[in-house]
Amino acid sequence: MFTKDIFSWMKQSTKSAKFYIFAASALFAFIIPLFFSDSLSIRVSTLMALFTIYASSWNLLATSGQGSLGHAAFLGIGGFTSSLLALNLDVPPIIGIFIGALFSAVIGFLIGLTCVRLKAWFLGMVTFGFAVITETLVSHFDEFTHGVMGFRTAPLVPLGLPFYYLALIIAISCVIIIYYIMKSKIGLAFRAIHQNESEAKMVGINTAKYKLYAFVISTFIAGLAGGLYAHFLRYIRVSIFTPANSFEPLMMSVIGGLGTIEGPIIGSIMLVAIDSYLPNIDQLLPIVHGTFVGPYLRLLGLGIFLVIVVIFLPKGVSSLLRKTYKYLRSSLKEDKK
């Protein structure tokens, strides 16, 4: 009886089904600490929420056809701004993270002014280069940023459950905001630009304007993620600008499903889980050249996985879920006949 009820809403319009799936996942995320309340699980769940924010911001930019290779710059700008404000001016971090996000968006706007005119690979280069320049500047003005050695950041809320719920609420808000942006005229313009920029221009879309919008919104959210991340780690240094941090949201979005709402969420859950739980088997693996092979094997596997996803599953892992869902729906309809 009960399963029939579940399937009956699946048969309704997809819009409400989407809403229920989202609400159920959000609810699940809220109650999950009831089942896994050890500190590692909560830490991992918090990281998943943080990376959901970060990967979603990258994904939003990619939706408009702009693949950034230097998003760590904005993560770091958000993180450093908020941490330095708390350190020097005693700004409460809860306000600081939003100032950091705003500052990141301002920088994003300035960089975006250049980037919106560039093609995919030029844009990749410029954003990558911008992350390198930011890292250099932060190291250069060390007496102001204290970035080279790093410093302990102020607490935002107590780590553990309070931080998890804060991160979760912000992540859910970001996802909802991005969902409504993607549903709006702006989102339509993004997708049009992604598919064919010159045609989008031809039908009267001001492509530069919309690409700049994408840049500003995306860097704002990335800066917010950076602030949260810095206060979560309770530590920040220039290493936040590493290319690895720039590629992380890319891999999460692409593996999860590029240009979808759920893609970055699924991707960040998968990648954070792999990063957090797979090291447990590292001791079992042999030692080669004096180092544990575990971390390298993981990255190697990730690389192979990324290539396979791009080639064979261009819409990411989430497209598998969609297919399963559609299959379930259609098989239900057959039953009715």
Binding site: L69, T114, A120, M125, V126, S139, P243, Y296
Partner: protein
């Protein structure tokens, strides 16, 4: 103020590094010109080339400069594998996909190299290790000069291949109009494989030369790739002379930035120049509008 001997040293040092960038940028330019493919993992072929040279030198005891040739061959084979298994499947579809595949390849190559050779930094010891040429007060390692010479020979051979042979003609035709050249009876898939292998071979040579001049580890490939791209953008997409002049100037400019501003600025200056150029001319210094 820089005195003249430091200046000569800087210029020579920059030219030696520039030569490596020239090889990388030429290979990338070739691949981009013919296949319209953006391979961000090109520098990983340089890194693999350095390790393959290292293996030849340590395991078989071959001369490092012979290892340049051997490494070119092996890396070309690796390039064929990479092209057939990955890039061919995403070619021509979405540009972003090529970037994603490249990033996957970077992860694969870096970590395979760590697993095979370890992550400690290594060097290729040349027989002329301690030999240097004295020019006034500056002394220049003979290896730098040999590296420059080898690059010149490779570039001349490449130019001959492109301008004088039938394969080169087919490559030029494919780069101008892929579809039309297919209609003219050129097997463009074979040209793609050949081009990629050629670009990979250049990266392999660059790798061994890099290993002779610098210590290297598995992560050495990424920055030179990005710099090679910067050089291509500055020198013009698809233009080999642009890549050569751009590469040399870039190498020298980078060294001058290091001695005047300090070594943390090595990478940032390059990108600053790149961004400024792209702000002024979004299609690159010598790029055509609409390309």
């Amino acid at each position: 103020m820089i005195d003249s001997s430091t200046l000569i040293l800087t210029i020579m040092w920059g030219a030696a590094i520039g030569c490596i960038y020239v090889l990388l940028a030429t290979g990338l330019n070739l691949i981009f010109g013919v296949m319209k493919l953006v391979n961000f993992a090109h520098g990983e072929l340089l890194m693999i080339g350095a390790y393959i040279g290292f293996t030849f030198v340590t395991a078989l005891g071959v001369n490092v400069y012979l290892a340049v040739l051997l490494s070119m061959g092996v890396v070309a084979l690796i390039g064929i594998g990479v092209e057939r298994l990955t890039f061919r499947r995403v070619l021509g579809a979405e540009k972003l996909n090529e970037i994603f595949v490249s990033l996957g390849l970077i992860l694969i190559f870096d970590n395979v190299a760590v697993l095979l050779w370890g992550d400690k930094s290594k060097r290729l010891i040349s027989p002329f290790e301690n030999l240097s040429l004295n020019l006034g007060e500056a002394s220049i390692r003979v290896d730098w000069l040999i590296a420059i010479l080898i690059v010149i020979i490779i570039l001349i051979a490449l130019l001959f291949l492109i301008k004088k042979t039938k394969i080169g003609m087919a490559m030029r035709a494919t780069s101008q109009r892929g579809q039309t050249s297919m209609l003219m009876g050129i097997n463009i898939e074979r040209i793609y494989v050949l081009t990629f292998a050629l670009g990979a071979a250049l990266a392999g040579a660059a790798g061994v030369l890099y290993g002779i001049i610098f210590p290297f580890d598995p992560y050495v490939g990424s920055l030179p790739t990005i710099k090679a791209f910067a050089i291509i953008i500055l020198g013009g997409l698809g233009s080999i002379p642009g890549a050569v002049i751009g590469g040399l100037l870039y190498g020298i400019a980078e060294q001058i930035a290091v001695i005047t501003l300090g070594s943390i600025w090595r990478d940032a200056v390059a990108f600053a120049v790149l961004i400024i150029v792209l702000v002024l001319r979004p299609e690159g210094l010598f790029g055509k509008r609409g390309e």
